[in-house]
Symmetry: C2
Subunit: 215 residues, 2 copies
Amino acid sequence: MEGHPYFPQDLKLPGFVPNFTSASSILGIFAAAFAVVFSVSWILPGLFTKTTKLERLLICWFTITGLIHIIVEGYFAFTPDFFKDKTGFYLAEIWKEYSKGDSRYASFDSAIVAVEGVTAVVWGPLCFLAAYAIAAHKSYRYVLQLVISLGQFYGLVIYYITAFLEGDHFSSSPIYYYAYYFGANSPWGVIPFIIIVRCWRKICESETRNKIKVK
Amino acid sequence: MEGHPYFPQDLKLPGFVPNFTSASSILGIFAAAFAVVFSVSWILPGLFTKTTKLERLLICWFTITGLIHIIVEGYFAFTPDFFKDKTGFYLAEIWKEYSKGDSRYASFDSAIVAVEGVTAVVWGPLCFLAAYAIAAHKSYRYVLQLVISLGQFYGLVIYYITAFLEGDHFSSSPIYYYAYYFGANSPWGVIPFIIIVRCWRKICESETRNKIKVK
């Protein structure tokens, strides 16, 4: 195969094999998996513990983001030559498609791999622990959510700053730029931020309550 | 000036001007500044508030690391051409010297600049807030220390992983590799980690104490 759909066009990707699956099919499979995981993680904790609606939403979030970190991002971080995949393997298809929004994935940029690697290996498993901690009302539930969310948010900041510093020319078209590069990442720009603020407040409240009681 | 002392040797640094100051002088000035800041930040809070020795040590740490973030790292993150400095300016001298341990500073590598920029602009000022919060026993003191320390630690992890992924060939000699690349960064590999563990425990203890009291 000659050539690839990524920008900058002079990017060298010897052995590149184009997508087998259309963008809408990739998204469709993702949406179906999302719906299944969301439903299970919404219903399951309710059967075993008393949880508020907000807690169940948080359990859904940490289950879904944890699975994405470990499976989707984990596959990328340890598969430098995913763009050569000839089998139509779904995870390779995802990253071939996403690279149209940011070719630094196809070129296995070290900053991206470092952030994705830490996300897959550290934050991913901790997300499941967070889901458990919320369901079981563990004393570390707020601090753990805060740690993970800060890690996710900082990772995203590094992701955007490095692209900006290198000229922000990694997207094949404005549609990919806004839909993939910004759109697909937007949940991790918003949700971790909200969780950080909430957990910060919860931790401070707990500290203040103790102070008052000690007096 | 032709040539530079950095590795890899084919690194292009047009307009490079060598160090004016010896490594020992750079270190001497740094040590003197360290001693002054340490002494002041050790003595000062004791005059105004009741603090334990550990709290005063933490105040010293956050004052020193905050100043380093804002002044030393802040200068680097916003001075892409420090290696051309002809005036012998101390901060340029520091980075010209440090680049012998990691030439990605001289080449203004985007991952380094992103991490150093966030460290200078976000963690730096927050360090001063942390020093104040510890002295004033604010309810957010533990969570703030944890957030900063996690940011510092994650930054260092990205720093090492990116170097590793790119072949770890940025040091001029084994001495610079161990003294600068590892040695100079070692405080940020150890101290933030200890602070994270301590604050995590403090936050969980506070949460547990509340639970018991509520019962």
